[in-house]
């Protein structure tokens, strides 16, 4: 600690010329929530590739796939049973001579429909339930939480089975089963965020400016919860897709002649010794779908919530 002692004389001090515009110039363009997240997501190559593949699968399932083929996914033709993959039937044909290419995309459509349904329920029922519960608090919260605690204990497999027993197996029954339990986790997460955020200063500020409860939730609390909401959404989707395929695999879901990736895999598994292509094509599409949603979910979690990055 050998510091030289110096007397401080006034002439040592002077004013530095500050260019008032300098501060303005250096600050880059404002980066909002979305942009900020997008920049982080762009760095994650796996997530970006997944997004691209998902868009491609989407296009194949709804537009390109059916357009490229003149066959119907349901038309049976016993003269062309078990035709291997060829120029005419790209994915081959099944036991009843149905074209697998169109069947696989029909199954993918079912999976994507389920994905959207689950996302929709999560966003509307789950978010609303959680927001009401967390924001109102008190007795309402108490009652709503008790209901959640009961719902959480019910395995959704059991719900699906009971729904199947009452209604007929099919896409509507699966939708009902997902509708009963699918949104519970979202409700819990949103409620947690609400409890946390409503005590913060910006909420108080908005309150004191006269904002109504509804406005406060919609304009301030929910936008501030977007990160966790999107992250949770991205994990709900693959599990809903899986649930549908699983139910169809064990015979509780989509019924023949309709196709689902789960039921196609189930049929293919029985033919694995002699016609393995019947298993490979739907399996590859299904796994691709799952991997991409999972990777995109991981990427979005890192992008929206850097603190949770592991």
């Amino acid at each position: 600690m050998e510091t030289e002692r110096r007397d401080l004389t006034p002439d040592l001090f002077g004013s530095i010329k500050v260019d008032e515009t300098e501060g303005e110039r250096l600050a880059g363009p404002p980066i909002g929530f979305w942009k900020d997240s997008w920049i982080r997501l762009k760095k994650n190559r796996g997530a970006l590739a997944s997004l691209a593949i998902l868009i491609l699968l989407f296009a194949l399932a709804f537009v390109i796939g059916p357009l490229l083929s003149q066959y119907s996914p349901y038309a049976q033709d016993m003269t062309r049973r078990y035709a291997g993959p060829s120029a005419a039937f790209w994915f081959g044909t099944d036991e009843f001579g149905r074209d697998m290419w169109t069947r696989v995309w029909a199954g993918t459509r079912v999976s994507l429909y389920i994905a959207f349904l689950a996302a929709f329920l999560d966003l509307f029922v789950g978010v609303t339930y959680g927001a009401v519960s967390g924001f109102l608090g008190g007795r309402v919260d108490n009652a709503l939480q008790r209901m959640i605690e009961i719902l959480v204990g019910i395995p959704s497999l059991v719900v699906a089975i009971l729904a199947m027993v009452v209604f007929r197996p099919g896409i509507i029954t699966i939708s009902i089963a997902i509708g009963i339990t699918g949104w519970v986790y979202m409700a819990r997460i949103v409620r947690g965020r609400m409890l946390q955020l409503k005590e913060q200063e910006f909420a108080l500020a908005s309150r004191s400016l006269g904002a109504s409860g509804y406005r406060l939730v919609r304009k301030h609390l929910l936008p501030n919860s977007l990160g966790p909401i999107i992250v949770n959404l991205m994990f709900t989707i693959p599990s809903a897709i899986f649930a549908e395929a699983f139910l169809s695999f064990i015979g509780l879901g989509i019924q023949v002649p309709d196709a689902s990736l789960g039921s196609l895999i189930s049929e293919g598994a029985g033919e694995i010794r002699f016609h393995p292509y019947l298993l490979w094509f739907p399996s590859v599409v299904f796994c691709l779908l799952m991997v991409c949603f999972n990777l995109l979910g991981d990427g979005l979690r890192d992008a929206f919530d850097p603190k949770m990055r592991k």
Partner: protein
Amino acid sequence: MIRYVLRRVVYMLITLFVIISVTFFISKLLPGTPFADDKLTPQTRAQLFEKYGLDEPIYVQYAKYMINVAQGDLGNSFYFESRPVTQMILERAPVSAFVGIQAVIFGLVVGMVLGIVSALRHNSWWDTLAVVIAVLGVSVPTFVLGPILQYVFGVKLGLFPIAFFESWWHSVLPSLALSVFVISTVARFVRSEMLEVLGQDYITLAKAKGLTGLAVIIRHVMRNALIPLVTVLAPLTIYLITGSLVVEQIFAVPGIGEQFVQSIFVNDYAMILGTSVFFSVFFVIALLLQDISYGIIDPRIRIAGGSATVAASAGDSRGDGGDGDGGGGGQT
């Protein structure tokens, strides 16, 4: 703590009560009666109704049903005439339990080794391998994996029998198919927990005070990183139930899952509803154990009053929802 446990037990009972009530009313809603046989005279039918208590008012039937279920009597199978459902489930339980427990033990060991090594060698090829396995393991479902294992190990390599259940060798492939998901869930969880703990100040302190690398890892890192593993208990239970349905079906293992899928095909409603109740009890107990053990480990959960469940619906057993951040776990 006792208050917390009691609270959880009460919720467990309410949940079970709701599920069992629903199964009762569903069984009443079903079209037809077990005796909708035209050959029966009205007189015989009345006798049968009397014998099985079907002539009594619905609330009496309901009360009787609830009492029976509470005593473990789930009624008789429709398909295998008059065989008690409970007995049929219990007969098959050991097989399912064996395959499942074997899968969990194997999955836990491999998953923990993979997770620990990949965290310690962060960003090495080991780490990449573990991450790839983790993503594939949660994305490739058992019903794709099962046939592939059958094809590769059974048909092509001829190493293991591909179906039925006659010796220990027969249990290898089903357990392997079940364990892949366990491996990836555990590896993923352990890896992220380890990485978080490794970055903590107390690890730096432990190293600074001169502990060897191994002592730090065993006494400080693993201890703190492995305890939260109890949160995967409920998701794993759910997974084992759904997984057993698929795996037992594919490998023709005579367990509960296979019987359940068969009962769906033959519309054996008593069996379907009874097995549903059985699965629910199984799951609710797992959930309770998880919440209690988590409450002991992390007192913040108890205060917040939440359930430690992270991800527990049928397919939703990734076990990575909100874990890792203990505080958040309490609120979500």
